[in-house]
């Protein structure tokens, strides 16, 4: 039940590097070997947790949840999946600031939305540090969206996307076994160097049931499902 699962492998690689680098601290100076070993222990545990979840990736955190159970719990629940990382998790609301809402998972991944549009993430690595959302989703047409990231030296840079928002087909989807009608909203966004397409499934009442939204080249998209229906 984690958005971080795929990390284990790359961290182990990093660890090897750390050990070797630690070993290369110069003569008669302290080496952070100890730190590396502590990290090793942590990573070892993480790897065990993952293997217990089976080879097919982490278990679906929605398993066993029903719409009535969610309703009774009184919790706001969001299900999120990072296809590139095979990571999945449940998130709850951790804070509201003006029009934006921040959701947080148990393993400290956060997603922040404004007008149902993703404006920030934390905990992924190449995080979306901030953004100006487009107009409300009921509004179709053209707009610009700036996405802000940090580079490898923690210096901020911004990428401006020109987006065209249009309506797609009407259909039904299933969330926790419940059939729900939606109309698709398609956002095609292009910058000088890259492009992405966000999708939103909007219910008749204007609620976003599911969406697929762009984070960054490294992380790709996050697929989100609102479990409070």
């Amino acid at each position: 039940m984690t958005l971080r699962s795929k990390r284990t492998i790359s961290l182990s690689l990093a660890l090897i590097a750390a050990l070797i680098l630690a070993g290369c601290s110069s003569s008669n100076e302290d080496s952070p070997l100890q730190i590396a070993i502590v990290q090793f222990a942590k990573i070892g545990r993480g790897a065990l947790e993952k293997s217990s979840e089976g080879a097919a990736g982490p278990a679906d955190p929605r398993a066993g949840l029903t719409p009535s159970f969610v309703a009774k719990s009184g919790l706001d629940l969001l299900y999120a999946e990072i296809p590139v990382r095979q990571g999945r998790a449940l998130l709850t609301i951790a804070g509201r600031n003006g029009n934006s809402v921040t959701w947080l998972s148990a393993d400290k991944i956060s997603l922040t939305f404004e007008r149902d549009q993703l404006i920030a993430t934390r905990g992924f690595g190449e995080d979306l540090m901030g953004a100006n959302p487009g107009p409300v989703l009921s509004q179709i047409g053209q707009f610009t969206r700036d996405l802000v990231y940090l580079d490898g030296e923690s210096q901020p840079f911004s990428v401006r996307y020109r987006c065209t928002r249009s309506l797609g087909a009407r259909d039904t989807t299933r969330i926790l076994g419940q059939s729900l009608e939606y109309i698709e909203i398609i956002e095609a966004c292009k910058s000088a160097a890259s492009e992405y397409t966000n999708l939103y499934f909007r219910s008749n009442s204007g609620k976003i049931l599911q969406s697929k939204q762009w984070i960054s080249p490294e992380i790709g998209y996050v697929v989100i499902e609102n479990l409070n229906n």
Binding site: S26, S110, G152
Partner: protein
């Protein structure tokens, strides 16, 4: 033992940049050659690696092995440090160990119609096994084909050489003076571009993204090697096949001079591209919106409650509250950061935690980063700015502009936390030390156990120590330096310590850090300061919070310690000390000048220049010039070396405050030697000051 350690260590040096490179994809414009920099095979090109690339290359052919650390210092300037061995080099069949430095400067960048042009010096300091100078042009003829041609002097003018065309300028260019190898270590400028010149050239053809072929005409006659019978040179032509299909690694195979085969591996690190991007730090708490109308009474009990709440929130962030106060609409917290390399990130996390823990009546957060019990600065943040700017596209620039970074208030009366002071902490840990490029034993390793303790008595006052026991390694195998020296043996007796002192007390000292007056920092250390010296060390540093310039002074009175690693002292004692100036040159470079008296009683100055990356990487060089003559100094002529610092959070991709430091110095001799203190002031102080905070402010919101 020697051989495997050599290989382990070569792999290890490679790891210094290499294995990390595998995580951070890096691809040079050109490919690397046998000299470990971007070039053909033995011949250079005018191409450069990408700015900042740090590459370790291992190349071996026939009886020669070259290990090169190459750094792209600026987009146009590249530098290399190389360690070369040639078997059967001397008449008695023994091997030569040689260290060399190169520089290459790109005068002209390639244009549509003109080639790139570079001038270079190889092995321009020292004994000069590989010494040569060249000027070379490279032109891309098609996206796949690059051609290079140049003229070389010295070693690169040794095959089919002709009269030096520079002879037109002055007759002095006609003959190359024989290098006065002497003790090495000196720039041999009187040889530059002198004597016979020769032409060289070659082609580089990129078959596809992973395979590259190279062909060169070499102007290196391998005179010495063939003369010794250790090398056969049947043809001036060399060929190479390069595979760059692995991320950050380049492998190459060579056919050399119609007689020999060779292989090389280059491990490329791009410090600008960490393995996990800006880091997979767990998400912070989002900012909590306050209610200014909420009523709250600042009673002692209420303040304590808020402090406890804040402490709990900061616990997971590795931030420890040293003191806390609420007065009027301001909450002030002194925090010790144990988790984040960038102070800006620690401050950002603390600010967000305060938005949760502080009552609505508090409108201003004053966050005081504390190092060793001493406040470094005071960062004043309006709560409203925090709320308004969170997740906004321009949050980083605006929040820095709105934060007020001030001198810490030293008059503040502090309530000492009984849980923090006094406090005893201790630990046992493995350690691994490496000594690289010693002339006799090029690679030395030592693995053992280290026991440490720290007794924090009061803010700034602590008693701490470390003892080490070596379990295995070859540090103690070196021959004790018995060469006659007119200088007191202040460092050249390191081997005696390794041989006679195991286990040993590395440090045991009382440390006192304090703030004498505003803008200044002080340190006094008394006890066993390092393995070889004990005594009293005092330091003062002037560094205003928004100043780039820092000035410092250090004075030490030390006795040489007994070789057995115990508490005994020897007769030798000295007053040593320096005045220092520290200054960042632009965004990317940092200079330090130390002037003073060194351990052997010699007077002089140390210059250090580092390329600094905002993510904590540092690559630099230092050199010390004292009134000790080159003859008295011995091999190397003066103390110099390169230093590399790699931040652990860069490697791990998660928060970590530690860095890994490597220093490769030419030789540990007695001239220009300084005390090796663990806790000099500048590096910890600057982290909490405006210039460094600004550089890493992007992490405030991370």
């Amino acid at each position: 033992m020697g051989r495997w350690i050599r290989w382990v260590a070569q792999a290890c040096i490679a790891g210094l940049s290499g294995n990390i490179a595998a995580l951070s994809f890096a691809q040079a414009e050109g490919t690397y050659g046998l000299y470990g920099d971007v070039g053909l095979i033995d011949m250079p090109t005018a191409r450069m690696a990408e700015d900042g690339f740090l590459t370790t290359g291992i190349a071996t052919f026939d009886s020669t092995a070259r290990t090169t650390l190459n750094f792209q210092i600026t987009p146009r300037l590249t530098g290399s440090f190389r360690y070369t061995t040639v078997d059967n080099f001397f008449d008695d069949g023994s091997r030569i160990y040689d260290r060399s430095f190169d520089l290459k400067y790109q005068i002209l960048t390639e244009g549509l119609r003109w080639p790139s042009l570079a001038v270079g010096l190889r092995d321009f300091i020292g004994t000069g096994l590989l010494t040569s100078e060249y000027i070379v042009a490279s032109k891309t003829l098609s996206p796949k084909l690059t051609v290079s041609a140049g003229m070389g002097w010295g070693r690169l003018g040794s095959y089919q050489g002709f009269d030096n065309p520079l002879g037109i300028v002055s007759d002095s260019f006609d003959t190359r003076p024989t290098r006065d190898v002497g003790l090495g270590g000196e720039v041999e400028a009187d040889q530059f571009f002198r004597g016979n010149a020769a032409l060289f050239g070659g082609l580089e053809y990129r078959f596809n993204d992973t395979w590259t072929g190279k062909l060169e005409y070499s102007s290196d006659a391998y005179t010495q090697e063939t003369g010794q019978g250790s090398f056969e040179r049947n043809s001036p032509f060399n060929a190479a096949l390069v595979y760059s299909g692995f991320r950050g690694v380049e492998l190459a195979a060579y056919a050399l001079h119609g007689s020999r085969l060779g292989v090389s591996a280059s491990f490329i690190t791009d410090p600008k591209r960490p393995a996990a991007g800006p880091g997979r730090d767990p998400a912070p708490l989002p900012v909590k919106i306050s209610n200014a109308a909420q009523s709250w009474a600042p009673t002692l009990a209420n303040i304590e409650k808020r402090k406890a709440r804040l402490a709990k929130l900061l616990e997971t962030e590795g931030q420890i509250i040293e003191s806390f106060a609420i007065s009027g609409d301001t909450a002030r917290v002194r925090v010790r950061n144990t988790q984040y390399r960038a102070t800006a990130q620690a401050v950002g996390r603390t600010a967000r935690a305060m938005s949760h823990a502080m009552p609505g009546t508090v409108r201003v957060f004053e966050i005081v980063p504390v190092e060793n019990g001493q406040p470094l600065s005071q960062i004043v943040i309006a709560r409203q700015d925090l709320e308004r700017l969170e997740n906004k596209p321009d949050a980083i620039a605006l929040s820095y502009a709105k934060a007020d970074i001030q001198e810490a208030d030293l008059s503040e009366k502090l309530s000492r936390d009984p849980e923090l002071y006094p406090k005893l902490s201790y630990g046992l840990a493995p350690y691994l030390s490496l000594g690289l490029f010693d002339p006799d034993t090029p690679i030395r390793a030592d693995f053992g156990v280290s026991a440490q303790f720290d007794w924090s008595i009061a803010p700034g006052l602590s008693f701490s120590g470390e003892a080490r026991g070596s379990l295995f390694g070859n540090f103690s195998e070196g021959d004790v330096d018995t060469s006659p020296s007119p200088l007191p043996r202040v460092r050249s007796n390191a081997d005696v310590y390794n041989k006679e002192g195991n286990p040993y007390v590395r440090t045991l000292a009382l440390n006192y850090l304090f703030r004498p007056v505003e803008e200044t920092y002080g340190r006094v250390t008394l006890g066993y300061l390092e393995r070889a010296y004990a005594g009293l060390s005092a330091e003062v540093l002037w560094k205003p919070v928004d100043s780039k310039l820092a000035l410092g002074g250090e004075l030490n009175y030390v006795y040489q310690r007994a070789f057995d690693g115990g508490f005994g002292l020897q007769d030798y004692n000295v007053v040593t000390g320096h005045v220092s100036a520290y200054y960042p040159l632009g965004e990317n470079f940092h200079a330090q000048v130390d002037v003073g008296r060194y351990l052997a009683g010699d007077y002089g100055t140390t210059l250090s220049l580092d390329r600094e990356f905002a993510n904590g990487w540092r690559v630099g060089a230092f050199a010390t010039f004292t009134d000790v003559s080159a003859e008295d100094f011995g091999e190397g002529s003066f103390d110099k070396g390169i230093q590399i610092t790699g931040p652990l959070d860069w490697i791990l991709g998660r928060p970590n405050k530690s860095t890994v430091e490597a220093r490769v110095r030419s030789l540990s001799r007695d001239g220009g030697a300084r005390l090796r203190l663990d806790n000099r002031l500048y590096d910890t102080v600057r982290d909490g000051h405006a210039p460094d905070l600004k550089k890493s402010w992007g992490r405030f919101w991370k």
